[in-house]
Symmetry: C2
DNA sequence: AGAGATCTACGAAAGATTTCGTAAATATTT
DNA sequence: AAATATTTACGAAATCTTTCGTAGATCTCT
């Protein structure tokens, strides 16, 4: 992953991940709910993201429709990895505990996490 | 937390967290191992961080000694919180699984995490 | 004390990111 | 078909971050 994704780009990607293929206006309407952003700003960002290959578009109609090329999981992986390296010294357990302490999951989610851990443990035993 | 901590500032904070109160030269020597950075760049950044209140210093001696005011845990909390909001839709379990998948912890760490989860579960039962 | 080394302060350049204004093209309405 | 709306393209301004050069102060060594 050579290209860094900036904050403004990430905000746009989130809209595209959530809503699927969208026009500039649709994206901008949603971004503008949060903070004041002009239409051409969003347009310009999407054009930059197109160049970087973060998104693609269908330019058949007058208002082009954009969608994310980079997948949310890939960005999650990159960002978690960077965070592990920079502020957690590579300790995933420290990150995990911070995350759990930060925003407590539901009982169901806790069970899922435990199952996930047990799968890792089983795998480690086989090695 | 009003002030955003930039990447260059974070790199300096990491040195201060690891090594404790340090002079500009000491900080710069360590940063410069990784990437080429001039002495006055590090100096300027520390002065900016001083203004922002991220660090403080003892200016008794000629070479001032700086240390972090903001604690590593606080930054971890902030960054994990931001990440939860932006790319994980508030789902700490998704973040946890990404972290565990990303960089597998040692068996000992896994046990610590399980204990941590069990403490949360016990607490949830009491509510 | 004088020369040389090291340090701080700080403005300003350089670089990166975000924002917007304007022009031209395309669509819509009357 | 003319007037009005909306859209794209794109340069450039505005803003934020990082980097450095220079001046002057302080220390060290001879």
């Amino acid at each position: 992953m050579e290209n860094k994704v900036t904050d403004a780009e990430l905000a746009i990607l989130q809209v595209l991940w959530r809503n699927g293929p969208s026009t500039v206006r649709e994206v901008n309407d949603i971004i503008a709910e949060e903070r004041q952003v002009g239409y051409t700003t969003t347009l310009k960002l999407l054009q930059i993201m197109l160049e970087k290959g973060l998104v693609t578009r269908d330019a058949t109609d007058k208002s082009h429709r954009y969608w994310a090329v980079v997948q949310e999981k890939a960005i999650q992986r990159t960002l978690v990895g960077k965070m592990l390296d920079t502020v957690f010294h590579g300790s995933s357990s420290a990150l995990v505990m911070q995350a759990l302490g930060n925003h407590e999951p539901t009982p169901e989610e806790l069970i899922k996490i435990k199952e996930f851990i047990e799968r890792i443990e089983a795998q480690q035993r086989d090695e």
